[in-house]
Symmetry: C2
Subunit: 330 residues, 2 copies
Amino acid sequence: MKMLINTPESVVTDALRGMAAAHPDLVVDVENRVIVRRDAPVSGKVGLVSGGGSGHEPLHGGFVGAGMLDAVCPGAVFTSPVPDQMVRAATAVDSGAGVLFVVKNYTGDVLNFRMAAELAEDEGVQVATVVVDDDVAVTDSLHTAGRRGTGGTLFVEKIAGAAAAEGAPLDRVAGLARQVVESSRSFGVALSSCTTPAKGGPMFDLPAGELELGVGIHGEPGRERRPMMTAGEIADYAVDAVLTDLRPRHPVLLLVNGMGGTPLLELYGFGAEVHRVLGERDVPVARTLVGNYVTSLDMAGCSVTLCQADEELLRLWDAPVRTPALRWGC
Amino acid sequence: MKMLINTPESVVTDALRGMAAAHPDLVVDVENRVIVRRDAPVSGKVGLVSGGGSGHEPLHGGFVGAGMLDAVCPGAVFTSPVPDQMVRAATAVDSGAGVLFVVKNYTGDVLNFRMAAELAEDEGVQVATVVVDDDVAVTDSLHTAGRRGTGGTLFVEKIAGAAAAEGAPLDRVAGLARQVVESSRSFGVALSSCTTPAKGGPMFDLPAGELELGVGIHGEPGRERRPMMTAGEIADYAVDAVLTDLRPRHPVLLLVNGMGGTPLLELYGFGAEVHRVLGERDVPVARTLVGNYVTSLDMAGCSVTLCQADEELLRLWDAPVRTPALRWGC
């Protein structure tokens, strides 16, 4: 499998050099693998820190900036960052108002962020943590106790980031983040495996003519494999899985997410089918985002995330944001 | 090859339904295949119209909105739209100030936009046309007399769109668009073929372990095939090809573009190498954009576009834009 890389070992370092070159609003510590917004710490503001294994770009580094995250620490591909990175990030962004860790629910990430929280508290940083577990496909998985964290992370980081930007205190920002977690559900589908740089080939075998329903963002197995389905059939299955778990009482924010290898032309067609199903199920859609946001390297496939949004969440979603991958209103 | 589609025949129609559902700022005429910004025609403003074969998303439909294009007409995959679509688009956006057609240099597009210009003039719309031919890889190609139009189109549409938004008259908008064409050069590389829905398999054969240097955005052959190269070697080759043709007298706008199937993690690493080469060649970079903007379905690969930007072009590049795929300042 051909890749646009120098060496498998340098992939993350090279990408960080590229982030530094492309985004002067960010300070990228390539050696220590921490990306921080240039104007951090912002006086009086709660700091938002996230991170996780690389390979899901633009998550998380593409979400650093005004109105969203203050810092992230990328690990090796599909590997948790280490506590030292997280402590560096926390101390870099803490203005005295405290720091919120946004953690996707994978065992390594949860353990390392927990250790980092203790170390940061030792250095005088007040830390709150929210764990994102929005993927309804399976309970317990290859790297996870409980549900996996996937597309809902984008909604948590945007909405909590907006609240922090408005000056909300740490308990309020953390409370909103937890509300978004409780309000968000996702379901993903793989049409192909992804290719990891270290392996240089497919991460898992998916026979020609089959798809994996409920796949994780590291190629973790889902609920079942079936013969290939149409976009409409996939939308029926994915939306049903989500709505079996979440009956929205408010209009939803909809993320039609690409896993990295599926063309935008196809994602929009899939998005049309998701809208059709939501219409049939009487779920009004307040906002729609279509694109590659929470990816799995070059995996072909997609995921659907719904977040039921009351007026306050919708207002915070619409609030200005200025990051490499999400930008509006400023 | 598995695709996230309903049928090969419905791919473009389904994507247009998805655009309509996701973007309330746009009016999508699915039957006639025209996308128009909802507030068109904007009083006193020159209208910008583009279009071409589908399969290059977000180009062009993702660039419709305030500060960029007023309307686009997507053709079938890798197939020119027809004059009737272009005339509909032109008459929908003409406020009386005239319309600029932005046309990528492929024979079918050029002929059809020429015919459409005549038909629109018959209906009282003043039309100017700019043809984009920024790809330095080859002269004359499968579907092209002269050079192909690729990544430079994004710079033309953004900068001319900003000038039109400021109220510049048609001759000024067209003149700026031509200046951007003259100031822009691109070079593309394929690591894999793309898969067209109609064929359901690879569009061309690229042996394992080889890459195509100078590929077009429809899989057209480039300059040569070589054994697989590193990201650094590809950056050396691509930037050298561009700078052999363009010696910038001003800082450049840099587009590090993905062809659709290459992960963003790899694109950023490639962007770091492009910055390295430009530094070695003493070419200052004013702005960098990294992502999938001018794609070729699921092709793995990348392209580099430079646009030398004097102060006026840079100011217009930075001006507010609000489209599905490019958005800042508003």
